[in-house]
Subunit: 222 residues, 2 copies
DNA sequence: TCCCTCTCTGGAACGTTGTTCCAAACTAGC
DNA sequence: GCTAGTTTGGAACAACGTTCCAGAGAGGGA
């Protein structure tokens, strides 16, 4: 019988822990990641995990960083600044759309290393647009905050959708509620209720980015 | 000795519970509100609270709603649409600036009754701006997501500032970190590091609102 | 006045969580 | 093959949200 040795394959490491954590978060959502469940899947104890990872916040940060790595790595040098900003925003959106728990993490913690890199990319393209130095910080922050807002709402929605039901069904139910609101108090909500079930979150998100870019262009033109 | 009667003053009620919860959240932050501590301050048991409030989520929602009530109640009919949007956004910002825990709540849960009212106000002003019906939902959502993003980041920052230190000191420390980053990798962050400690969050937030409004104006003009 | 019913109370208890602790198992260098 | 250092994993701790339930208080008929 095989001797129980500590070989490289089943050895614990920060990478393996983070990778397994991402698996569990993707499968069961934010509530699905506990140190006990993680230890069970890794066939070890909770204490062993703490040797490689300081605490749950660090674990979530590392998982979020890994999931966003692709969006940061994407090369955007060849594009015009506006297109580069769109591409970057699109990358972040797609990452959090695929891993909604990462959206929670991003909107919950202050700017951390991953988001600092995104902020850097955004700012560089803002500079490339010829924005005055005094406005660069403010306008890059506006873009970042918008992205983080969408990230948080996406995650909140994913959390709210009951495990059994699917998204169109859920949005349809909300649209019905909206349509049934008081006509005098909620005329606007009622008027857009019909657009809710069919609307594309991604398109809507990118339209918001374009709106901010148009605002920058307008402010620059004067 | 006085007979232990149940008079109106010390009677438990949803209002009194929510009011006390807001007090505790303001004093000790989001971690300061537990059912045990709340029960202790109300001189009762945790079980009694559950007779008036379904669970902690509902309690936080009610607290957030109360804290945002002022921002919604403000009458804005006399202003031009753009100024009305600014006033509304300003009201929300000031509320979450004073009660950062409310920002966490807003960015953590999907649109709830309070935020639906704000969305309604935003949308009505967007309509008043003469935006085409097809764009109203998208652009009102852009404004809302931006506001929620700032709300979340404000709350995250408030949570990160160590109880002992103050805000300028904390921002100064981050600015120092930013200034010390690799020059080749973070040119933009380094260039704006100096603006971080002195910048006004509120002004920056409102500049972002103006940017979106300018974008709407530009898109409308074509 | 008594009693029954319904509302409301508050303290104990349950299950789960993040985290800490520590004895034992393993690995590597002399 | 001893020893010093690293790594493991299971037990234990403190805290949390929530549930449970015996009983106190109030009000309305008999």
């Amino acid at each position: 019988m095989a001797t129980r040795t500590r070989n490289t394959d089943d050895a614990l490491s920060a990478e393996r822990i983070v990778g397994t954590a991402i698996e569990m978060l993707d499968e069961a959502g934010e509530g699905g990641l506990t140190f006990r469940a993680l230890a069970a899947r890794l066939r070890t104890g909770a204490g062993a995990i703490y040797w490689h990872v300081a605490n749950k916040d660090e674990l979530l940060s590392a998982a979020t960083a890994q999931v966003l790595a692709g969006a940061i790595a994407a090369e955007v040098a060849e594009h015009a600044p506006e297109e580069a900003i769109r591409a970057l925003a699109r990358g972040v959106f797609d990452a959090i759309d695929e891993h909604p728990w990462a959206g929670t993490q991003l909107s919950r913690v202050p700017v951390q290393p991953v988001m600092l890199r995104i902020f850097e990319r955004l700012g560089r393209q803002i500079q490339a647009l010829g924005v005055p130095a005094a406005d660069q910080f403010t306008w890059a922050s506006a873009l970042l905050n918008y992205i983080l807002g969408v990230a948080g709402q996406n995650a909140a929605l994913a959390r709210a959708v009951a495990p059994g039901t699917n998204r169109p069904e859920f949005l349809g139910a909300i649209a019905s509620e909206w349509a049934g609101l008081d006509a005098a108090e909620f005329p606007f909500i009622r008027s857009v209720a019909g657009q809710l079930p069919a609307h594309d979150d991604r398109d809507q998100f990118l339209a918001g980015i374009d709106l901010i870019l148009a605002g920058i262009a307008a402010a620059r033109g004067q």
